[in-house]
């Protein structure tokens, strides 16, 4: 039978993959994608707890997290776009170097 821990492990692995992406991706859009993975892992966590603890709080929080993710991506991509247009590249390391 599938229990809570199964979902938690899945979510942990997904989170770590996201983290790996955030740390290794050069492209800012790539980093954003990896961040989305981490959001999703959090959501799985929430929903799994919600399901096994018989509480709807997790469900409601999932929707809130989705909202926050949407807001984050909206602003994030806008930032990336504007950075790109100023510098014509969006590689995070080089951006950090440029700004000192």
């Amino acid at each position: 039978m599938i229990g809570l821990s199964h979902y938690l492990v899945l979510s942990a692995l997904l989170f770590c993959l996201g983290l790996y992406g955030v740390l290794t991706r050069k492209n800012a859009i790539g980093v954003l994608m990896a961040v989305e993975l981490m959001f999703n892992s959090v959501n799985i966590n929430l929903m799994a707890f919600s399901h096994y603890m018989m509480d709807t709080a997790g469900l409601a929080f999932c929707v809130f997290v989705i909202t926050v993710a949407a807001a984050e991506v909206t602003v994030g991509v806008a930032l990336v776009l504007s950075v790109y247009r100023n510098r014509n590249m969006i590689e995070i390391d080089k951006l950090a170097e440029l700004s000192g």
């Binding site: 929707v63 949407a70 247009r85």
Partner: protein, 126 residues
């Protein structure tokens, strides 16, 4: 898990399978009737009879992004409004007009967003 939702998975797989089957069938038939004859010029991208100049993967206007952004915002709004609308009649019985007021507040803020985007010209296609 509600067994009904197994249908979603099945249909996703089935639809994809249907198309893939069609593709492989077409691929087989074209080879059977020998209409599969790739060549270098055939593989060139179509550009009104001219050899294509440069890559098509160029960077485009930011315009499209603004629409996508607005879409995300209001899509999220829909995620809150659908449960509200679906439960409207029951909530009306339980909470009375309070829930209407609550949603009105929510909507008002988002309409502000629409008005803001409108005024800022984010809705103009330049």
């Amino acid at each position: 898990m509600d067994g009904n939702y197994a249908y979603v998975a099945l249909f996703l797989l089935g639809g994809a399978g249907f198309v893939c089957f069609n593709f492989s069938l077409a691929s087989f038939v074209t080879r059977l009737v020998q209409s599969h004859r790739p060549s270098r010029t055939k593989g060139m991208a179509y550009e009104c009879g001219e050899p294509p100049s440069g890559e098509a993967w160029v960077q485009y206007n930011v315009r499209y992004y603004l629409y996508a952004m607005l879409f995300v915002i209001f899509d999220v709004e829909a995620a809150y409004m659908i449960p509200w609308a679906a439960e409207f009649r029951k909530l009306l019985a339980e909470l009375g007009t309070l829930m209407v007021v609550e949603m009105a507040g929510f909507l008002a803020i988002l309409l502000l967003a629409l008005v803001y985007a409108w005024r800022k010209g984010a809705l103009e296609w330049t």
